[in-house]
Amino acid sequence: MSGDWPLWEVFVRTKGGLSHRHVGSVHAPDAQLALAHARDTYTRRMEGVSLWVVESKEINASDPDQAGELFEPAENKIYRHPTFYDIPDEVKHI
């Protein structure tokens, strides 16, 4: 039965969490039951205050074969991190 159902990715916003985080996936015939299944599968121990589900096929993913050209160039550009400034002691809240 569940083999006939599409797969849905589940995102949960936890208590005190600011954004939804991917926690896993469920099978369900439609969005409403996907939310029910996500609730019963991933929020049983009071983890969640908000749920998102999105059909897995709707997610566009980057190609792992392109990981080199996509991500490696960022690795040797340390000047993009603001680590070269001296912060005066008087400045607070940084």
């Binding site: 039965m1 569940s2 159902w5 469920v26 099978h27 369900a28 015939p29 439609d30 409403q32 039951l33 029910a36 299944h37 019963d40 599968t41 049983r44």
Partner: protein
Amino acid sequence: MTAPDAARTDYLLRLGDDSLILGQRLSEWCGHAPALEVDLSLANVALDLVGQATLLLGEAGDADKLAFHRDVLDFRNCLLVEQPNGDFAQTTARQLLFSTWQHMLLQRLESSEDRFLVEFASKAVKEVAYHRELASEWAIRLGDGTDESARRMADGLDWCWRFIPELFDVDESLQSLMDSGIAADPRQFEEEYRSAISAVLSEAKLEAPADQRPILGGRSGHHTEHLGHILAPMQYLQRTYPDAKW
């Protein structure tokens, strides 16, 4: 025990046994549901119900003794909840008919004169709202699904339909508690119940079964043959090794 106390205990047993027996029934699905996700859903509902039974039977006396040391004639649950699981559609029909009733009852018990019942109802009503929602969603999908799922859903409703009148029956014991403002009068929401069920069935493109000869008796201990078969595995350990602890 004074008469009002006896009626109150009887009421707690009725509500507690409803939850206990349906919880036990639903847990029979564990590992057998049509999909892993549905397995979890049914187990969640079962656990909610067993939790309710623990509170209600604990208020009536010793919850473990009441659950494991009573025989069929002493159980006070309605006949609907002891009906066999059948297929998933029959289980869904039973859940729709029971959870809708239980939800409406708990909403009224939130303004009972009895402090325990008020506290219990305000906690349980949220659980049961979800049970009702889930059962309604499944009834709609099965009824408005394939020819086979629609047929199975209709058969499931047909099986359960004759046990509805018992949910709205008022006997002497219940009447005395209604008079003192402790129990809720189910007849006050029978019309609301019938129209809520009709609304789900019409969305599910299903016909309501014709009213059949009502079957009553659960509230006074006259059960169908199915209850004994539920109690046997449920009570086996405590019956074989009385007061065993783990």
